[in-house]
């Protein structure tokens, strides 16, 4: 049997195997005040994950208020009239729970993981802070300092993260995806309590939220608890976010970031549609397959040809997120191997893109991507948190939680010609932005700060 046919056969068998292990059904209901609730039962362990998702994130933010969604997320732990500051975290911890929150471009979400009998605690606390947050000026000032430290840790002192931030700012002109989720430092340090209050009142309402519960629970009981705690909250009059469409790109863009570092880095981003923005529904799936062809495991073309073959890259990879609310970048990025330059790596990455435009991918490569997707579909069910994430993201970006129920079949339906077609249509030079990190010596950036020098002298 020819090798490629053998692989296709394996892929076909895999798909049969996976069909028998589809995830358990999702129960959906909406409270009178507009809160949507999604429940997926997973009875493998006596645990429940509860996540509340708000339709707000950095892509909703106007100029001057970048980072306000993330700063507000921090302040959501600072207390209400009934639950004083710090008490939320203390109560969850003392009940054996785990909690956190995260902010992205298109959503802000809060979650608790608890022993299943304690789900009500999560609902009581989340319902309370959805409508009753106290935003004290002294808390705002202190938390802005914490977020500034977070920004230094995650971005300012990390050469690649710094480059990626400026890469996005160069790639987008009118899309809010140009701004960092954490915000520009000047905005973090100047957002006022009044502005935070308005942001909170504008977006934190039951009719702008989705409650996702995954775990060892009965849907009827979840509904009862949701009615009890979230039911009484009043809805808001919501206004849609302003249009945030990126104007068409009319030629390649390039930026250079010079910063103290040792390892060069280059990132290439092509404007690409998502499930929300695509003209034809198959296109994002074809781009997802293309992503797998290049970087799906160690057998992908990037590892095979660039890391092992020509050895132009020390490390490289691709990224594409089909579930974003707005037009995305299909990104290829990496570090050149010692003795090679960023220009060498850029040429090699562009050659891989050109090859995708010129010739259809092999049937065996396609089968490999499908096999990985089929297996991943099973592996993902091992994590209750991930199951909740997937439902929450799809619902919050406006695709609807069931959008990817047929994901495996959609991927299986992608043809080699379709992969070539999306490469020809979207991975073109006029849609490209390139960012290059040029390392400066690590010992040469800043003049000594007077404070530190004095401090040392005193010692």
């Amino acid at each position: 049997m020819p090798e490629s046919i053998h692989k296709l056969l394996i892929a076909a068998l895999l798909s049969v195997a996976s069909a028998a292990f589809a995830a358990t059904p999702v129960h959906e209901f909406t409270l009178a005040n507009g809160l949507k609730v999604l429940v997926r039962e997973d009875h493998r362990a006596p645990v429940v994950v509860s996540q509340i998702w708000y339709k707000v994130g950095s892509s909703y933010e106007p100029s001057g208020l970048t980072g306000i969604s993330h700063l507000l997320e921090h302040l959501m732990f600072k207390g209400t009239p009934d639950v004083p500051g710090g008490e939320f975290s203390r109560l969850i911890a003392a009940n054996g729970g785990d909690e956190n929150a995260f902010t992205s471009r298109d959503y802000t979400a809060y979650f608790q993981t608890l022993e299943k009998e304690r789900l009500e605690l999560s609902f009581r606390l989340e319902a309370d802070r959805m409508r009753h947050l106290l935003l004290k000026p002294e808390d705002v000032a202190k938390e802005a300092q914490v977020v500034a430290e977070e920004r230094r840790l995650r971005t300012d002192d990390q050469p690649e993260a710094l480059t990626q931030e400026q890469f996005s700012a160069a790639a987008y002109l009118t899309s809010p995806y140009r701004n960092p989720i954490i915000g520009w430092m000047q905005d973090i340090q100047s957002i006022t309590p009044d502005e935070l209050n308005r942001w909170y009142r504008q977006w934190y309402a039951p009719n702008n939220a989705t409650l996702v519960v995954v775990g060892d629970v009965e849907p009827a009981r979840v509904r009862e608890l949701a009615e009890k705690h979230f039911g009484p909250l009043p809805p808001s009059d919501l206004t849609s976010p302003k249009p945030a469409v990126e104007i068409p790109q009319q030629g390649e863009r390039r930026i250079v970031v010079k910063t103290p570092a040792e390892v060069p880095y280059v990132a290439l981003g092509y404007k690409a549609p998502t499930l929300k923005t695509a003209a034809a529904e198959w296109e994002p799936y074809a781009l997802d397959v293309l992503d797998g062809i290049l970087d799906g495991g160690n057998s992908g073309r990037i590892s095979r040809n660039l890391v092992r073959g020509s050895q132009v890259a020390a490390a490289a990879g691709t990224g594409y997120s089909p579930t974003s609310r707005l037009e995305e970048l299909f990104v290829l990025a990496g570090n050149p191997a010692p003795g090679r330059t960023s220009a060498d790596l850029e040429r090699a990455l562009r050659a891989e893109v050109a090859r995708l435009r010129e010739e259809p991918v092999g049937a065996d490569e396609l089968a490999r991507v499908v096999a990985q997707v089929v297996a991943a579909d099973v592996y993902q069910q091992d994590s209750m948190f991930y199951q909740g994430m997937r439902l929450g993201i799809l619902e919050t970006v406006g695709l609807g939680w069931s959008k990817l129920d047929d994901y495996v079949q959609r991927i299986q339906a992608v043809t080699p010609e379709q992969v070539r077609d999306v490469a020809r249509k979207y991975l073109t030079d006029d849609r490209l932005t390139v960012a290059t990190l040029e390392p400066l010596p690590l010992d040469g950036r800043r003049p000594p700060a007077p404070d530190a020098a004095v401090d040392h002298a005193i010692r």
Binding site: I10, L13, A17, F21, R44, A45, P46, H70, H74, G86, S89, A93, N95, G96, G97, N100, A101, F102, S104, A109, T113, A141, K142, A144, Q145, V146, E149, R152, Q158, P159, I181, E262, V263, G269, N298, S299, G300, R304, V307, R308, A314, A315, L329, P338, D364, R368, Q372, V373, V374, A375, Y379, Q381, D382, S383, M384, P439, D443, R446, A449, D455
Partner: protein
Amino acid sequence: MRIIPIMSHCKPLLTGILGVLLLLASSLAAAVPPIQNWRTANGVPVYFIPAPELPMMDAQMLFNAGSVRDGARPGLAKLTNALLEEGAGDWSADVIADRLDRVGARLSAGSRRDSAWVSLRSLTDPRYLQPAVETVARLLREPSFAPDAVERVRKQMLTGLQERAQSPGAIAQDAFFTALYGTHPYAIPPEGTVASLNAITRADIQDFHRRHYTAANAVVALVGDLERSAAEQLANALVGGLPKGEAVPPPPPPSPVPASQTIRIPHPSSQSHILIGQIGVNRADPDYYALYLGNHVLGGNGLVSQLSQEIREKRGLAYGAYSAFSPMRQAGPFLINLQTRNDQVDTALQVAQTTLREFTANGPDAQALEEARQNITGGFALDLAGNGKLANYLGVIAFHQLPLDYLQNYLGIMNGITLEQARTAWQRRVQPDKLITIIVGGDQPAQSKPEPAGSTGS
């Protein structure tokens, strides 16, 4: 580049390899199937928990092959481990990658100070599992260490060293282990040095593999949708072909820090990374439980802990401020970790030192200790919810050959620790006047000075 959402105040990821195993109540004990344990024909201990709900399995193969075995060749353990998937027998790296990817299997490999490992996640249908298992077995048994692969991975590790050199956090970690462990092999940087990486020969690698990737130095942890007989066959297929070999001796115990020392390393960063610590405990230390419980109050329980309260919540000095014991085969570190804007270093350092000193002198507050205990015991079910999480815990139990009833014993011990026991354990084991302090950040002159005992924090 995936856009990763910003997590607000992550707890430090101390479960998993460093994790502690806890048990709340008998209802939870019933929810966790007992560990099955046997040896393969060539003597490899196997630890198995059946998980029939999903048609998948996780296997971890751990070896006594961490950087503690590097000797005069820092980076040798990591280079050897990284080369396993780069060729075996007559299979090239491309062939190995293709064999795994086309059945949707996921392979990962890594090494730290004590151990090195290879992990496999696969569907359990034999048509997909079998090719994956054959591949992993062969790369463990007969890696080829082809000269071109050696050169390529050596270069990748050199790039890795450059990446560490541009990261103030990584520089601080390396300096901390060097200062803390001195001549002990835990001081060896697992990533190696430029000089040592360039000096390692193919023969060194082959010899390291021959000596350490043997049945006598291996354990296997298995979780998944397998009958006992299938699990036995699987373990045999994975490691049954390894030669018996000789068990390597455990590393020697490290010496305690004789006196406080502060090391400042300049770096062009806007924040300084501060590490404060000393030698902690080993995996078998009877004080570990009381110290762990106490540390949950001090700095191991996210925003609720005292260090977070004092440094982040009250003063806004840092995004994260944590403390942890990391038990290893021999005594691992006790470590406080925070980052702050360069001009706030002295303030933050003083708050951290004062908090530690007062905690050690007075012990934990009674209510805080009870709430910490409730978090630990009540969170047990969370830590085991999922095959991947179970496999990580089982890997720790297997590598340290902890008793099969470890979970039940642990629960009893954790629930039995009194306030007084926690307080005295901290006083006995933590010396706030003998601390290694590392500060890596902007604009400070390099210096290293021993300090007289008692001067720290003044």
